[in-house]
Amino acid sequence: MSQDSLFVLNTDGPPGEAANQVGALEPALLLDGEHDLCPGCGEPVAIRLLLEVIEELACAQRSIGVVGIGCYTAFTGLIDVDLIQALHGRAPSVATGAKRMRPDSLLFTLQGDGDMVSEGLQEVIHTAARGESVTCVLLNNGVFGETGGHMTATTALGQRTKNSLEGRDAAYHGHPIPIAELLVPLGGAAYVARGSVADARGVVRTKNLLRRAFEVQLAGQGFSFVEILTMCPTGWFVPTAEGPGYLDEVLGAGQRLGELKGAADPAV
């Protein structure tokens, strides 16, 4: 059997036969242009979900995003939602001030783990405790990607980064901080969830978590939080195709996926 003869389908344009488009090339809230994030990066996969949910909730014209500083910051040039750029770690306080003045807005933060859990740990905790009606979204790949792939407060034990080349060692580097679990006991935190974009099933489930988090905000139920585990093959020193596997086995090892608090249906 000739391998080459199997792969002959034309994918240059839409099909000639009658067909329904079930998946658009890009989310509606993405501006034209290509991003410069690494091959195999999980962040665009996660951000796509965020933009699709905003569109599906018909909230594009009332959404305000407060963006931290990390690899994803460069992506913001393509996000067609009103944004405020904050300092490293400081998006939650900016989001608080903005939401208090614009209570009808859909207010979210977009932050990496280095931003939110290293530099900005107190900000997200206080914002959650106060029950601010915002949604904090964490893109967690366990590295400071933008500065070259160094260890953060969420780097998993055994995870390889530029300054933990043998893998994070509890005795030498200390333990990571499970920020989602830290937020669960806080009275103001209405919804806390963790998803992963390592595979298609994880992507679908993560989108549902984001939708639910925004619904919690829109219903005025308090602070909502979604952590999204994303691949960083560059920071992890693995080939791009091995990113999802490394995410499952190392970054995500022992991490509970799903709704940690505030599930509408506890069985989910």
Binding site: Q3, A19, Q21, G40, A200
Partner: protein
């Protein structure tokens, strides 16, 4: 000759692809394979074989927004060499 049924198909923007290959293992019927050719970025890109179901898994996992996914109204049959 064998007949393979495609219930769906794709439009692939190959110039956007960075060759990360995440779509390959994501495809449930395994009908994607990386090309031997390179796009203008110098990256290999996915090619589609018959058997697509239009599930959209490739679109879900692609970081570079390369896929447009279609489901045929009536399944399309492809004759392929055994």
């Amino acid at each position: 000759m064998t007949t393979v049924e495609s219930r769906g198909t794709l439009r692939i923007d190959v110039e956007r692809c960075k060759g990360c290959e995440l779509c390959i293992p994501a495809c449930p019927p395994s009908v994607l394979r990386m090309s031997a050719e390179r796009n203008t970025k110098g990256a290999a890109y996915p090619l589609l074989a018959p058997g697509c179901t239009g599930c959209g898994a490739c679109l879900l996992v692609c970081p570079d927004f390369c896929f447009e996914v279609y489901q045929y109204r009536d399944p399309v049959l492809h004759e392929v060499s055994p």
